[in-house]
């Protein structure tokens, strides 16, 4: 497209973006810049993610500050932005009595594609998200996973330069979740479309995103490459045998702390050990062996954003 910014230009840029509602400030002086790739937008419910998406799509005016998507001003060029951006809503948004093909063709035309192109693109994109013969059947009979694929397909059908995915893994079982995350990576790697994906589960984004933006209460907490996040936030869950009265736990905790590891008790006989490096696994294994205990569980714990916020004070040095 003629207005396409050069490859190095930021996909989304906000400058002191603020949105106040009568009772609440949804976005507070948010200044953030994200480039191409898969970007995770992380925040608890009510952190301002949906408000930010609405403003980026040019659907709600900001109270103050500026925003740009693909180099287009969100305040004045909303219609143009929505032509080049795809949006997958969080909630169910599919009429049950039409087929995936009918719906997506219609929505492709709503995105400005001529009728023939709309049909071709629909067939292509439904195949790419993994819907085959079932695309001719009414959506009402689809599984949650298939519905999510239709929602993704309608966001991609006009070959946007950026897609905004709002909680795309909501309601999916672990297998469906992995498939959706794989699909999201493909959208960027194979389709060449940048992705902004929101979630309140940090763990699943660690594997998918190149860059994470964390907001809370409408304020930017952090914006940095994914690697810098996971290093600071990974915890190991440790559970041992012979721990009926909790003494083994106490003993293990003491020894591990002595070995220089940060240990918390999660309850239910599980200790959370901060991962300090590859040697942490060895230290735990050796300590457990020395105490003559059996190791029931040693696993990486997926973080919830809430925990990240609780730790935020301690990890300010990582803030970008």
């Amino acid at each position: 497209m003629s207005t396409a910014p050069p490859a190095s230009a930021p996909i989304i840029r906000t400058d002191a973006l603020t949105k106040r509602f009568p009772a609440v400030t949804a976005l507070d002086q948010l200044t953030v810049e994200v480039g191409q790739g898969v970007v995770g937008l992380v925040g608890a419910n009510g952190a301002g993610k949906s408000t930010l998406i609405k403003i980026l799509l040019g659907l709600a005016p900001a109270t103050s500050g500026r925003g740009e998507v693909l180099g287009l001003d969100v305040a004045t060029e909303g219609s143009r932005i929505r032509e080049l951006v795809g949006y997958m809503p969080e909630h169910d948004c599919l009429p049950p009595d039409v087929s995936a093909t009918e719906l997506v063709v219609h929505l492709a035309r709503m995105s400005g594609l001529p009728a023939t192109a709309a049909r071709e693109r629909t067939a292509d994109v439904l195949r790419h998200v993994g819907l085959y013969e079932e695309r001719y059947r009414p959506i009402g009979g689809y599984s949650t996973g298939m519905k999510q694929r239709v929602k993704l397909a309608q966001a991609l059908v006009h070959d946007p330069r950026l897609v905004l995915l709002d909680e795309p893994t909501n309601g999916l079982d672990p297998v469906g979740r992995d498939e959706m995350l794989g699909l999201i990576r493909r959208v960027h790697q194979e389709f060449g479309i940048s992705v902004l994906v929101t979630t309140h589960l940090l763990g699943e984004l660690e594997r998918t995103c190149d860059h994470l933006v964390v907001i809370d209460g409408g304020r930017l907490l952090r914006s940095s490459a994914t690697a810098s996040f996971t290093g600071a936030t990974e915890l190991l869950a440790v559970e041992v045998t012979d721990n009926a009265d909790g003494t083994a736990d106490a003993l293990l905790r003491e020894r591990l702390t002595a070995a220089g590891l940060a240990v918390e008790v999660e309850g239910g006989h599980v200790l959370l050990v901060r991962l300090a490096g590859e040697t942490t696994y060895d230290t735990i294994r050796d300590t457990v062996a020395e105490l003559g205990l059996g190791l029931v569980r040693l696993e990486q714990r997926r973080h919830r954003v809430v925990e990240l916020f609780a730790e935020n004070g301690a990890s300010d040095d990582h803030a970008a």
Binding site: M1, L57, L59, G78, S79, R80, R82, E83, V85, G86, Y87, P89, H91, D92, C93, L94, P95, P96, D97, V98, E102, H106, L107, R109, M110, S111, G112, L113, P114, A117, R121, D124, R127, H128, G130, L131, Y132, E133, E134, Y142, S143, G145, M146, Q154, H158, D159, E190, F191, G192
Partner: protein, 296 residues
Amino acid sequence: MTTPPEAPSGVIHDIGYRGYRGPRLGRGYATRSLFTQSLRAAFGLGRSAKSKVLPMLMLAALLLPAGVVVAVAVLNQADHLATDYPQYLSGVGLLFIEIFTAAQAPVLLSRDLRFHTVPLYFSRPITRGDYVRAKCAAMVCALLVVTVLPLLVLFLGAVLAGLDLGHQSAHFAFGLLAALLYSVVFAAVGLLLSAATPRRGFGVAAIMGVLVVSQAVAKVLYELAGGHYQAGDGAAAWVYLLSPAGLVDRLVNQVCGLTPEFLGTPGPLGTLAFAAAVPAIAAGAYGLLLRRYRKI
């Protein structure tokens, strides 16, 4: 249900992702597409066979009596049709027009609200105003189809039967005016009530209630006010401002000079008020619809 890992071999070849380099036709085109799709949906076209039943039935119910009227006129070699054009809509046809409005206006708006499809539209180039405009235009046009077609049957029949062309043409034009006013006013009432509820059933009941009950209430109040003992343009006629159908009926009769054979508006001031009520209803409903969708 599981997705087959491969489509039947030999049918689909995975040629990788292809981008789209063709034209993007923008807002105007998208709005027109939405209009066309909505107009078709109003008749159940492009939707399931079941959704075609009611609109087509109503269309048939409006056309059939017109055919009978024409047939009778031809067979009896009458010098006039058994009904005048505007009266065909306000008499025989009215109930069917009302049912069509009540059943199909929610098809255009309630479904999108109920299934939360609206965000899929608003995340595309069209604006909320474009959406409302396309839906309003589609509903008015759908009503024009069901109101004008039977008039056309009457008119063509009258021409074929060799009735006085001048008289028939003039009254056909009166009929078209009535069709336009009914379409605008009923679309306004129907869409406004549809947008208020995501439940189609509630929408149907509310629209039917407003259109039919308001008419009955107006009739009762008219009798209570002694309308029966007044001339057609007596003060009691003011109560028909309460009824969308009565309003159009009396306004058309008055403006087209069909009084006193048919009932008109209460005096010159009443004519002005009735005439002003139509654009007021249309503009009011349109404004409220825009406001309704601003929140979504």
